[in-house]
Symmetry: D2
Subunit: 345 residues, 4 copies
């Protein structure tokens, strides 16, 4: 591990600790600002630079982070990075271009784009064109399910927001062999508008969303192959926009192997997440976005209809925290040997 | 038909028209107030009384309807009704008790509760206990599908809000024989908070819902048997609360008979709704709640995945208009020989 | 009055009535769409054309108005207008350029921009540059206060949204001589985001407004001189954006002439609005935006502190209806001799 | 200072630190839950008990705080408190009854109710009846202005939410002698609905507030005398409810001493808050609630109209953090000699 040893200073909260030097690239977007906010209170981190995206040419401040992080967002110049780890909160093409160079310089990379999420080259060409060949040593950062690969990763691919919520709700059942083979899995997800990004468009206009709900991109969203890759089977996925800022609620419908009891379903969840600090199981008291907004928690509830062999699973996250910046830092913590919770509670 | 002939008065907008005398029982709830609002501008209606629910003991005004309807809401006293038609916006037990008396007095009844929606007595006993035996001559008022029965109905049972949105989206495919027999139908519906009623509860507190989404009552909602009755097959239905006041978006997932084309699906919708004044087909441009809020429209869009034989249907309504008061008046219009649109555009 | 007499057609709801031919210019903006929506149900109107703004080059439909108004929005071509009245929902410079031509053609013009609201040329040059010289025969369309001028107007200048709400709350006190001369008048107004217009900007992004409130343009908003012109004295005005779509609540703080009683204040309001169909006085039960959204009502409440001689007035409107399209039609109704309420209840 | 020295335990994050033992009374309300949430991450605190209000009789968990604080809320039993400090998030009468006993036991008390905010006994009798005589040694905890008294306080009275936002915006001008003597000060404040408390009432129903704004209690709110006490002069204060959950924006209108420049106003703010970790000055870039929600910051902006001698000040806070639990902990930090920021960034 490449960590910086700083001199001890009396009164410095970080005294007597080795600090990891990190760079945040893409610090002006929603996920980038959340990274800065969270990393600023991480006791083992020093932010050595925050950059805009490739189109940013002049330095700027982030007023909403004043007195939390008073640095300056500078133009993107990878040659100037002094970092042990780089968080990339950039468009996928920029991530794909930048990551190999950073890796070659010995930095470890945590990428929040979709550039490195899919392994199948045909899917990748369809859903993430212009992202080039896959580098070696990528770990898929669904923290609760990939911990060994994550600890050793040089390039960490942080999962999409919808897959994070949905896979945490489905994988325990699938790993326990409780999902009926070949039966449909329907994922109906509801996301806050920050999920549509920071760009001002007709879609993100307040008046288009207040008092409204909209389904979009049925069958065609690029998070579908990401979920199918992790589950090893097809899913039907339709995302929706709901009139709130932050949060995803994923509603999942599946059939259980014949004879599966409600108790078996509960046991599957409890076994997998017994030691997970950021997964909370609520059982029949279904979870709500409100309980996880502005946190790194994923709350999961479910209901089994034993008579028909159906299970309904609900999973909620904050799309910018557990669905982006928070999980990225959780993965960073594993990569650098810190407590998973560092900076996140 | 028992209609009142009023004297012609110069300057009276209603001159030279026969006015139907109506009573609204339960005028202080959300649906009741919407009934008053809409009936007040109906050119062929005179409201002879508006009553509270059974527990209301003192007359009161409805300030939000001032200068629209300046009457007084009086205690419920069916013996005093002077009406050709009575709208019941009451709890189901009150409707069940009241309707037979009104019918016996020759009045026609439009009931907005669930008291008379289910025909199967076992289902009825489970989901609507204490609603007594079913009277004769009930019509189920899903306007676009039951027009003849509705025209002749003495007791009109107005559909539930979720069934209205969902059945209008599914019945055209089912009637055209396009739904694969035996395959799952999943209905994931999102409702505004007015659907939870006017009572102040923890569930309806602003802070519980702002910035949040919640699934509730999976597998167990009493609108499930209502939809199954109309479709003639089981469905999986889970309602959700989303942070807006008025509106429902119903997302429906089904399998198509092998070989069904997208064109065949479109044709099925267009055939059924060619002359429907309040159904608007949006095809691949999926509809949003915003477009139907405060109207009697139901907008329906869909997407077919021919490769996998799947169809996704989205249907949106205003739960208090097309899902309650508006559809009730649309049915009333058919029952009394008026244009379906009277008072509703 | 220049009205078209159309042939009676059996089945035509408008048969046997003289219809006024209207054009709506700027039909794709928020106010323009509201005009189309309301005029479509106006019993004495036929919309002969709806146009885009000057930059619109191809015809387009308005999906949210389907089955309400199924016409096509065409490019702006004043030479082709066949109209008795033209509603201009255009940017002020476009209105200023277009109005004289239309007036010269004998059409009456109802302008919703600020081009013709200010009479003082210095203020006009500051706040509405590039709007040219003032035509003759302009009436300021604060309907409740200018009825004679409005009836005869060739060019009707529809008031701004903030002035509509605020002046309806202050003018009765000022006209009654109850406001202390020279004392401060503070107007703190809260507007929904539709007031910021339909353009997608950082300011109208959902995430910027959800869960937030923002003051903007203190001392400098161009509605300030419009209010000062009507009141004949200076005001301090600060608008705010609140996280809702439609509506304005204006909070007004003033001092009363010494000895003014609460009863005198109530009497002043009641005298002025005794016959106003769209003003509702709520007195001490302060009005809320919810009660007027999607209506043409202005609800006004107030509280007098006799001990200190202070009055607090609250006025609420829907900014797109009473604050724009609705009041424009109310004025149109007066101009063409119709009932003020036609098409608006 | 009465602090507990705990034994060092390997693996205990709090090892080698002296922990202050705290009790939170009233842990199920909004402010109480926020206290638990923040105190749980405070590095120098151990929560020894959390109690319900006086009416709570059975222990319960707080599901939304699971894995943050997994304790049990127990019935209120002051005799069992083992604490160096007690946070009272109770109704004022309960606080008034409880505080003297706790003080007599040597515990220091931070009270979040209004029981001890007013010093004038007549005002106190009017606005906080049934709160008994004032104990000695009370400090008013507007942290930025009362630091010495706060450090030594045995009983800390935490300011109201509206006064916190408003006084932080006005006191710098008043202390600098820039406010014109005798001139009006108008405070128009906008609060999220959590400010109305956790009880389910008609006022807190989602449908009453969504899409709406409401003024309430003009001239009569009990935070008025609290602000007047701190400012030493009368103010006109009207609070409003806006459709968001958390946050207050206070808009303040005042006159400046003749000749006051904009620069002098800026200097006054900068001088007072130069070292304040939780006050951020935004100047002409007016602050918005969004920037402070879920934080302990108070952001303040202003605009001076030199021509008329007017100043407009905007101040924003999160009503549950800086307006309640956060400021309480900030005060606690001063009382126990910790960094003001401990647990709050």
């Amino acid at each position: 591990m490449d960590m910086q040893v700083i001199n001890e200073t009396e009164g410095d909260q970080r005294a007597n600790k080795r600090l990891v030097r990190v760079v945040v690239a893409g610090a002006t977007g929603f996920a980038g600002q959340e990274l800065i906010r969270l990393l600023s209170r991480h006791p083992q981190v020093t932010i050595t630079a925050a950059t805009g995206s490739q189109s940013t040419s002049t330095p700027r401040h982030l007023p909403s982070l004043a007195k939390i992080w008073d640095g300056t967002v500078v133009p993107l110049n990878p040659g100037a990075f002094e970092a042990d780890a780089v968080f990339l909160a950039l468009p996928e093409a920029a991530s794909a271009e930048l990551a190999p160079t950073l890796l070659a310089s010995g930095m470890r990379v945590i990428d929040l784009s979709g550039a490195f999420r899919l392994r199948d080259s045909a899917s990748r060409a369809t859903f993430y064109p212009a992202t080039g060949p896959l580098p070696d040593g990528i770990a898929y950062g669904l923290t609760e399910f990939e911990t060994d690969a994550i600890r050793n990763a040089r390039l960490l691919s942080n999962p999409g927001c919808y897959p994070t919520a949905s896979l945490l709700g489905l994988l325990p059942l699938q790993h326990a062999g409780l999902l009926m083979p070949g039966a449909d899995i329907i994922i109906d997800a509801k996301s806050g508008i920050s999920g549509a990004g920071k760009a001002a468009t007709d879609r993100t206009h307040f008046s288009e969303n207040h008092g409204s709900v909209a389904a979009y991109n049925p069958f065609g969203h690029r998070h579908t192959p990401e979920m199918e890759q992790a589950l090893g089977q097809p899913v039907t996925f339709v995302p929706h926009l709901v009139p709130l800022d932050r949060g995803i609620l994923s509603s999942m419908y599946a059939r259980l192997v014949s004879g599966t009891t409600a108790a078996a379903v509960s046991a599957a969840f409890e076994r997998v997440y017994a030691d997970a600090p950021f997964v909370r199981l609520t059982g029949a008291a279904l979870p709500e976005i409100k309980h996880v907004a502005h946190t790194n928690f994923c709350d999961i509830g479910w209901k089994v209809d034993e008579a028909t062999g159906r299970v309904f699973v609900v999973s909620v996250i904050d799309n910018l925290v557990k669905g982006a910046a928070g999980q990225a830092i959780q993965n960073f913590n594993l990569m650098f040997g810190f407590d998973q919770k560092a900076g996140l509670l």
